[in-house]
């Protein structure tokens, strides 16, 4: 889902984004950017710590500026959605309260990303397991064909050639015939 442009409908417009057209930052997705906990910064209009200037980063954790941003495998799930930023009227808060709000917003963002990453991982694992299962099914078909068409018949053919051991092999053959796995059988039951 790509929400690069702010969506405006006749009745509902993002005033915030029409008023201030900020270029969406494509590569702001490394976690380090949002790890830092800032003391109350100078007044800024939007809460976007990952876009803040270096001067405002009195950080306790890692710094904002990094050399080249390294694309991580998880960035796919963490695209920026302009629609997610709400445009409520700004409320006046005490510095401490604002700081609390900022921390909460940051925490929400991180947990949302973690959830998205987990979801993506589950999807990928599902796909991997499904393909593996398909490969297993194909192998089962091949093994069955090999067993039924070749091994059993060859055993039967060689059995008649060796009458003295026929009883043993007959029992063994019957045992294998009866004990052949039923997974495919349940699949092919119509």
């Amino acid at each position: 889902m790509d929400n690069s442009a702010p969506i405006t409908t006749p009745d509902y417009a993002h005033k915030k984004f029409s008023a201030l057209k900020r270029k969406r930052s494509q590569d702001e997705e490394t976690d380090d950017d949002v790890v830092f906990i800032m003391e109350l910064p100078a007044k800024r209009r939007f809460f976007r710590p990952w876009l803040d200037e270096p001067r405002a980063t009195i950080t306790s954790a890692t710094a904002v500026e990094q050399p080249p941003r390294r694309p991580s495998p998880n960035t796919v799930a963490t695209t920026y959605h302009a629609n997610m930023v709400r445009s409520h009227t700004p409320r006046l808060r005490s510095p401490k309260a604002q700081q609390r709000r900022d921390r909460n917003t940051l925490a929400c963002l991180l947990s949302r990303r973690a959830r998205q990453a987990k979801q993506l991982a589950m999807e990928q694992q599902y796909e991997q397991y499904r393909q593996q299962h398909e490969a297993n099914l194909e192998q089962q078909v091949r093994l069955s064909l090999y067993y039924v068409r070749f091994l059993q018949q060859t055993m039967a053919a060689t059995r008649t050639a060796l009458p003295d051991s026929s009883q043993q092999s007959l029992q063994h053959g019957q045992h294998m015939h009866q004990a052949w796995p039923q997974q495919q059988a349940t699949a092919t039951k119509r």
């Binding site: 979801q119 599902y126 063994h172 092919t188």
Partner: protein, 196 residues
């Protein structure tokens, strides 16, 4: 007996009597006259695999639906939905502010519409996530089962091969047959691969 269904299925396929595919199996295929050409084997395998995949998809869908019935998705609402905002009720009485109330009504309508869309989207997303969870659960169980079945089949086949070789069958001939049937193709995992 269920366990012999697979054998019976293959057997009937060979004889050409089993109508299960809906595709006519060549009646000329008799067990004794079967050639073990790789192309024929591949064709048979492809047809059977397609049916197994369809069956898997059906079973998965059934499982997911059943799970959704047993675990219904609920989205809470903050407040019971109101019928209409009050401004529109007094609308006929306040002609001066008619335009304003209609604008206000519009924005309220838009707000309501947006809330409804949000709610529907949240609900659909919840359902999508639940479906993925159930599908994941299903595929895990199926994979464990198929990996275990594969191990068992390989054991049985190894025993049969050992018997054949004890009767003088050449290993080279066995290997050739195994190649014909594509039994040693990579991609089939053992049960241990599941343990990450």
């Amino acid at each position: 007996m269920e366990q012999s269904n697979l054998y019976l299925h293959k057997f009937y396929t060979q004889l050409g009597h089993y109508p299960l595919h809906g595709i006519g199996v060549h009646p000329s295929k008799l067990p004794a006259l079967h050639s073990h050409k790789p192309e024929q084997i591949d064709e048979l395998v492809a047809v059977e695999l397609q049916h197994l995949k369809t069956h898997y998809a059906d079973e998965e869908q059934r499982y997911v639906d059943q799970m959704l019935i047993e675990n219904p998705i609920v989205v809470e609402r903050r407040a019971p939905p109101t019928t209409k905002p009050q401004a529109t009720q007094v609308h006929p009485m306040q002609t001066k502010t008619q335009s304003q109330t209609s604008t206000g009504g519009n924005s309220r309508d838009a707000q309501r519409q947006r809330a409804e869309s949000c709610r529907k989207s949240r609900y659909n997303n919840k359902i999508k996530k639940a479906k993925l969870r159930f599908r994941h659960k299903f595929v895990c169980s199926q994979l464990t089962e198929s990996a275990g079945a594969l191990d068992y089949m390989r054991d049985v086949i190894a025993q049969a091969e050992a018997q054949l070789m004890a009767r003088g069958f050449s290993r080279v001939a066995l290997e050739r047959m195994r190649q014909n049937f594509g039994v040693d193709r990579c991609g089939a995992a053992l049960a241990t691969n599941m343990d990450h």
